[in-house]
Amino acid sequence: MINGVKIVIHFPKDLVDKPITYHLVKDFDLEFNILKAEVNPDEEGIMVLELKGKKDDYHKALEYLKKTGLKVQPLSKDVAMDRDKCVDCTICVPLCPTEALVVEGAQRQVKFVKEKCIACGICLKACPYGAMTIQF
């Protein structure tokens, strides 16, 4: 079983009209949760999915996605915090939907808990110092 694996799917311009998620359910019996999606007509698109299902089916699904011409990569290393740029103001903390950004200790430092991050990207917009970065 795989449970909670997060992947990033890149759609080239000519494939944004493919009903990808439909096939993931119908053909590979995968349960999914869309964490982020930016798929617009005639533009390159991106979708972040959290997947649950049988390991075999998961690998077959990845094969299918790649064959279709989509780029797939795991979400493991995407959002990062630059400690040199962070001033520990805490303005990002209430905006984070999954409590991946928390205030810690007497010095009130902001800690980034990567395992909880769903790469929604709001901290990137919110940080006045450009301390949060995302890499797909």
Binding site: V87, C89, V93, P94, L95, V103, Q107, A126, P128
Partner: protein, 399 residues
């Protein structure tokens, strides 16, 4: 009773006792006001946060042949400077942005590079590109100039902030149904979050709420170097409602600050981008409070739970210049991570960095202990709570 002169003598002899505002609050709780007064000479207060009314003036030196910027146009890294001074004096503020910045055309704008970032780059010793167009005169014939400049080559480079160190501030919320982008950060709809901006119990003017010791001429830590209180800040508003102990319940006093940019550091002058709003500069400030008597000490021992801040709706009330707080909350509540307004629990975030404030208060303490920083006697007082000095709204007189 204690005088600033006596304190400076102690600094010279290496016998001064300095505590940060945080340490003092602990000592007073443990030993009481009297005992604390006997042992403590100076308390260091500090703050670090975005302060838009910050800027620099500088003198580039004269080119050969000479050029007169006044009446012409000058940009620095693409950002327009104010040229309405003598030939090669320029002013540049934290919120200035390049003419070709898209601003909020694609909403919300990102505002990646503006005056605040430029000040940080200049302090960092980076070369900047100066481009000037002038109309030319008999004594200043040159009409255009394009050159790199560097802080080391400038004659004077001075940080001059017309309003810093706000004594207390609003807590910003959003009662509307859409996300809004403000100078207080991103505000989620339907009271989704609450943003505040004060170092509270560490904040200079909240540790000296009646301006007993902080005045014009007070020597301070400014942006990593030393500076002075130049004047009271713009929008100084000492006459607002206060608690019994004299703490203002809304934004009140402010300070205008000045200091030699060449002594400062990009650690405490940081370019800042507020999405959908604009650019600004985050400034680190430390102010020493001489413990002249027990009343001064009592004020400097202020605690977060004693300081109240108004919760203001930035969707409707703030844009329309209405001050009708939804509630008052203490900084102890704000720092706990959530407040309750209209029966709703709201998570809080701060724009002011306490980690930096602690760092600054500690650095200033070390400077004083090492005999590197002496206290100055203010040469004049700030308009006080009992004065009739007021922050007025604009009275529009349409033509």
């Amino acid at each position: 009773m204690r005088t600033i002169q006596e304190i400076n003598e102690k600094i010279k002899k290496g016998k001064v006792v300095v505590l940060t505002a945080q340490e003092l609050a602990g000592l007073v709780q443990e030993k009481g006001v009297k005992a604390a007064f006997e042992s403590v000479d100076v308390v260091t207060t500090a703050t670090f946060g975005p302060m838009c009314s910050s800027g620099i003036y500088f003198n580039t030196g004269h080119s050969k042949p000479r050029i007169k910027f006044g009446g012409g146009k000058v940009t620095l890294n693409g950002i327009p400077c104010y040229t309405g001074l003598a030939a090669v004096d320029l002013f540049l503020g934290a919120t200035a942005i390049p003419d070709d910045d898209p601003r909020n055309k694609v909403y919300p704008g990102e505002f990646k590079y503006g005056g605040g970032h430029l000040i940080q780059d200049l302090v960092d010793g980076k070369d900047l590109v100066l481009e000037a167009e002038a109309y030319g005169t008999d004594c200043y014939p040159r009409k255009s100039l394009k050159t790199k400049i560097n802080i080391a080559e400038l004659n004077e480079a001075v940080l001059f902030n017309t309003r810093n160190c706000y004594q207390n501030y609003n807590v910003a919320v959003n009662t509307s149904d859409r996300i809004i982008y403000t100078y207080m950060g991103i505000l989620q709809p339907r009271l989704g979050n609450a943003n505040y901006c004060s170092a509270a119990a560490m904040s200079p003017l909240l540790n000296d709420p009646l301006y007993r010791t902080i005045g014009i001429g007070t020597r301070i830590f400014l942006g990593g170097g030393t500076g002075f209180v130049a004047w009271w800040g713009t929008q100084h508003n000492p006459g607002v409602e206060r608690t019994k102990s004299g703490l203002p319940k809304c934004p009140a006093g402010t300070l205008a600050l000045i200091g030699d940019l060449k002594t400062m550091s990009s650690k405490y002058l940081v370019g800042t981008s507020m999405v959908g709003y604009g650019t600004t500069l985050s400034v680190g400030i430390g102010v020493p409070i001489p413990i002249l008597d027990e009343a001064v000490l009592e004020h400097a021992a202020v605690k977060d739970e004693d300081i109240l801040a108004p919760v203001v709706d930035y969707a409707h009330d703030y844009p329309n210049a209405k001050f009708e707080p939804l509630a008052y909350v203490s900084y102890a509540q704000l720092k706990s991570g959530a407040i309750v307004v209209r029966g709703q629990k709201i998570q809080t975030g701060s724009l002011s960095s306490l980690r930096k404030a602690y760092e600054i208060a500690d650095t200033l303490k070390k400077w004083i202990n090492a005999g590197k920083f002496f206290l100055s006697e203010p040469v004049a007082k700030l308009p006080g709570a009992g004065s009739d000095y007021k922050f007025k709204a604009l009275k529009e007189r349409p033509l």
